[in-house]
Amino acid sequence: MAKPSRLDLLQGTLDLLILRTLQPGDAMHGWAISERIRRLSDNVLQANQGSLYPALHRLEHQGWIKAEWGVSELGRRARFYRLTASGRKQLQQEADNWTRVAGAIGKVLELA
């Protein structure tokens, strides 16, 4: 099976992706978040799934997401994460930053 080459995620990028994934407002558990990131990026962004959890906990400590226990679609107990108001603001900021940086890097790559 030919695997598409994986990219190592930059520090902080994972945070941005998590926040973006949670933006629609639904509460999601870790597995769902990881699957969604993978699918939306066409399997390119598939980090070590484990590294998702320290990131989730860090975001929770920063108050950008909130966790609560709920029952998953398969009837198992799971930890669901939801974006908070300050998380929404943070996402806005980071997304803007990202666009600016990505645009700038793109320009440099084109012109160099």
Partner: protein
């Protein structure tokens, strides 16, 4: 740090098990989902599980990272270390007991000292807003403070620069029924200003001090009411005699208030009663006697430096008209929040004591450090294994330090008990050894265990834990991993070096303490044996109130036990004597202490008139302008000229010219530690200046004193103030040094004991370490003699280094002390020799026992170990 962060950390701390379980569940859920996905894709059960774990990464590392986010791993590590340490303590209770006992000894002594320091210097007086209360006076060119006269105080009250409230106070001393009764004459607003109420009756009120001579009322302290009046419930309304004048008790001050002076007061009376309760010129009269102290509250928001500037300007304005020596050049503004203000001078006086006590704690710590090091070396194999398994050195040091801090907890508790026992015991010893006449002046102040004492205890315990724990922790974890796993500790000799350094430090400190203590004891002995220049035996000095002087003198003259009576304005050995400036005709101007004495003064004290003659009775009675100088004063004033017959200009109110008629041998006037005062001027006593009467009695002096006191009290109540034998004055003057010697000897003994055990420990360790070597030596034919010598040489070398350093330090210290104390010699060879000898013989004794053990090593047994 956000709110959610704090809350989550707290949750992680408080519900550790639950948070851990949740993490477990979360990861488990993820893996289950991943497995399911792979199963759905048609993998086998095993394959699905494997792929799920592969995608996830290392579960343990992920969990560890998640724990890291919580930020409490340091706490958890500590918990782990504590559990580990407690387990190892359980295995060696003797070690724990020795360590905490040794540290507790040092801690306890220091805590006792701090508790006393706290009671006097740090604990605020129980009054309203103590920290805004200040005493104020101005200082002249020589830095001497000023006592105010009534008009100055009134002006101050009117201007009230920088102060929002002010009061004037004056100390008054008397005795009631033979008991010392010290009081404070105060302006009427005093109690209101301090916010102090009464236990019984009422406090003093402004109306009580409305006009001079008004309101013979008095408020007692709770303590005085309990002790001197046995807590009589009907005390309010009764009259008591104060300096022979009946005063009505109107109230008892609130319990716990004993005035804001250094020494607790027994009563307070309106300042307007000063004329009745005070000798000499009237406070409110034309003479303007300078007697008042000012205390007050600084205005809210007024800084101390700002207040000083304002007060300096005011003082300079007030003294503008005075001659230069009377002009104010600065102000003395001292906080009255505590009974003794915390000033730089106080710290300088107190610091030697604190250093000596601190050194004992340091000694205890080095002893324990030595023990810890031995223990760490014994655990070298364990530490080596842990290091080789990848434990971080930092982590091991941390664990060893946790152990030290844990050890300091029982030490602190035990130290606290020791401090209470020490304080009680030393107070008991003080009451048992203090000269009898001083007893009444000693007030036991409350010594509460407040937050300052607790804080000090915690701080000192932690500091000593670091002190005794850090070096061994650093040392033990430095070991070579390979050799220590194999159990070869001796190949790395550094632990021995550190322990040697510790022993040298101990011997140094011990030598310093013992030499200092020896010098102190010898200084005290020199002072006790010092020829003060006059005789004290069978002489009683008493202070007589002016209006009763005639009656008292008559009674004394008719007393069969009294054979000579003299008067003087100052009693020798009773502290600093007032001085005046004197100028010789065509000669220098010098400041001389003076005493107004009757002719019998020289006879009663046996002070020889070396040249010229004594005063005559007529000169005394008619205020003739004559004077007697101490021989040294004559030398300073007239150099080699004949002083007899010369004219001397004496400053004062009024300035006088006197003719020198005699030269007296010089004596100790102020206090023994100051030595003989070289310059002294005697003037003939007049009735006004004869405040003190000295009598020479036949028979036993103490019973005579008691008899005279009782008799005079019946004849003229309140007429006699202080009445003590001169022997008592002398004993009181030396008591401070005797007490210091006792404290010094106790600390020196403890230091010696700690050093003894310290050296014993180190030498035993040395022997254990070199068992193999010694065994080989014995096998090769070394005699007992050589083995003992070899071991002793080791301890002797350490002792030699330690005593040399200690002696050097002691010389430096005695130089410092000798500059302050007349009787202290810079190099007291006897004290040095005794100190060094004691330390050296202790060191030898401590080394001897282990060396004997070394000599008995059986070579066959030791060599079999390998």
């Amino acid at each position: 740090m956000t709110v959610s962060d704090v809350l989550l950390r707290l949750r992680a701390l408080l519900f550790r098990a639950r948070v851990e379980e949740e993490l477990e569940d979360e990861v488990e859920f993820h893996l289950a989902m991943a497995r399911r996905k792979h199963l759905d894709a048609g993998r086998s059960e095993d394959e699905a599980g494997r792929l799920a774990r592969l995608d996830f990464g290392r579960v343990g590392a992920v969990k560890e990272d998640c724990r890291g986010v919580r930020g409490i791993e340091s706490f958890e590590t500590t918990l782990q270390d504590i559990r580990y340490a407690l387990r190892s303590f359980r295995r060696s209770p003797g070690f724990v007991l020795t360590v905490s006992g040794t540290i507790a000894l040092g801690l306890g002594l220091n805590l006792a000292l701090f508790t006393l320091f706290n009671a006097y210097v740090l604990r605020p007086i129980s009054i309203h807003d103590p920290y805004s209360l200040y005493s104020f006076t101005w200082a002249d060119r020589q830095g001497r403070g000023h006592a105010f006269f009534w008009d100055e105080y009134q002006q101050f009250e009117k201007d009230s620069p920088a102060f929002s409230e002010v009061a004037a106070v004056q100390y008054v001393y008397t005795r009631v029924d033979g008991h010392v009764f010290q009081g404070q004459l105060v302006t009427g607003n005093y109690f209101q200003m301090l916010g102090v109420g009464s236990e019984l009756g009422r406090p003093l009120l402004p109306e009580d001090a409305s006009a001079p001579g008004r309101e013979a009322v008095v408020v007692l302290s709770y303590q005085a009411w309990q002790n001197m009046f046995r807590g009589r419930p009907d005390i309010v309304g009764t009259k008591i005699m104060v300096r022979g004048f009946p005063m009505e008790v109107v109230g008892v001050a609130r319990k716990g208030f004993q005035d804001i002076s250094e020494v607790p007061r027994d009563f307070w009376a309106p300042l307007t009663m000063a004329g009745r309760l005070q000798d000499g010129s009237d406070l409110f009269g034309a003479d303007h006697p300078e007697r008042l102290d000012i205390v007050g509250r600084l205005r809210r928001g007024q800084s101390v430096s700002g207040a000083e500037a304002i007060l300096t300007a005011w003082s300079q304005r007030m003294t503008l008209q005075l001659p230069d020596e009377g002009k104010a050049v600065g102000v003395l503004l001292h906080s009255k929040a505590t009974s003794i203000p915390l000033t730089p001078e106080l710290l300088i006086t107190f610091s030697p004591l604190a250093v000596v006590f601190g050194l004992v704690l340091v000694l205890a710590c080095t002893n324990v450090a030595s023990m810890m090091l031995a223990r760490a070396t014994a655990r070298q194999r364990e530490i080596g294994i842990r290091l080789s398994l990848g434990a971080l050195r930092r982590r091991l040091i941390r664990q060893l330090l946790t152990e030290s801090i844990l050890l300091s907890i029982p030490a602190a508790i035990l130290g606290f008990i020791i401090s209470r026992v020490t304080i009680d015991a030393s107070i008991r010893v003080m009451f048992a050894t203090v000269p009898k006449d001083m007893l009444e002046l000693i007030h036991d102040v409350p010594r509460p265990v407040d937050w300052r004492v607790i804080a000090f205890m915690v701080f000192a315990a932690l500091a000593s834990a670091l002190l005794f724990g850090l070096a061994p922790a650093l040392q033990a974890t430095r070991a070579n991993v390979m050799s220590s796993v194999r159990g070869e500790v001796a190949s790395d000799l550094r632990p021995v070096r550190v322990r040697n350094a510790l022993v040298i430090a101990q011997i140094t400190v011990c030598t310093l303490l013992l030499v200092a203590c020896g010098a102190l004891v010898r200084t005290t002995m020199a002072m006790s044996a010092f020829d003060i220049g006059f005789r004290t035996n069978n002489v009683i000095a008493m202070e007589i109130v002016e209006n009763s002087r005639g009656r008292v003198m008559d009674a004394l003259a008719s007393d069969p036990a009294v054979d000579t009576i003299a008067t003087a304005s100052s009693v020798p050995l009773n502290g600093a004597v007032p001085s005046v400036t004197t100028r010789a005709e065509n000669g220098p101007t010098i400041s001389t202490a003076f005493n107004d004495v009757s002719p019998e003064y020289f006879e009663i004290l046996g002070i020889p008139i070396v040249r010229g003659r004594n005063f005559t009775k007529q000169e005394s009675a008619s205020e003739t302008r004559v004077a007697i100088l101490s021989a040294m004063a004559a030398q300073r004033l007239f150099a080699h000229r004949n002083a007899l017959g010369q004219i001397l200009h004496v400053s004062g109110e009024p300035a006088r010219e006197v003719r020198v008629i005699g030269l007296a041998a010089y004596i100790v006037t102020c206090c023994i530690p100051w030595g003989k005062d070289p310059v002294l001027l005697y003037l003939p006593a007049t009735p006004a200046t004869s405040a003190n009467v000295l009598v020479h009695v036949r028979g036993e002096v103490e019973s005579e004193r008691h008899w005279l006191d009782t008799r005079l009290a019946a004849l003229a109540p309140g007429a006699v103030g202080d009445i003590h034998s001169l022997d008592q004055y002398r004993a009181v003057g030396l008591y401070g040094f005797r007490a210091a010697s006792m404290i010094g000897a106790t600390l020196g003994g403890l230091a010696l004991l700690l050093t003894l055990t310290g050296i014993y420990g180190v030498v035993s360790y040395f022997v254990t370490q070199r068992t193999k070597e010694i065994g080989i030596r014995v096998a090769l034919g070394a005699t007992t003699h050589t083995v003992v010598g070899m071991v002793l040489k080791h301890s002797l070398r350490l002792t030699a280094i330690g005593t040399v350093i200690g002696t050097g330090l002691a010389i430096g210290m005695s130089r410092l002390l000798a500059s302050r104390l007349v009787f202290m010699r810079v190099f007291d060879s006897a004290a040095f020799a005794a100190g060094v000898l004691l330390v050296a013989s202790t060191a030898l004794a401590a080394g001897y026992i282990p060396s004997r053990r070394a000599a008995q090593i059986d070579p066959i047994q030791t060599l079999r170990y390998d």
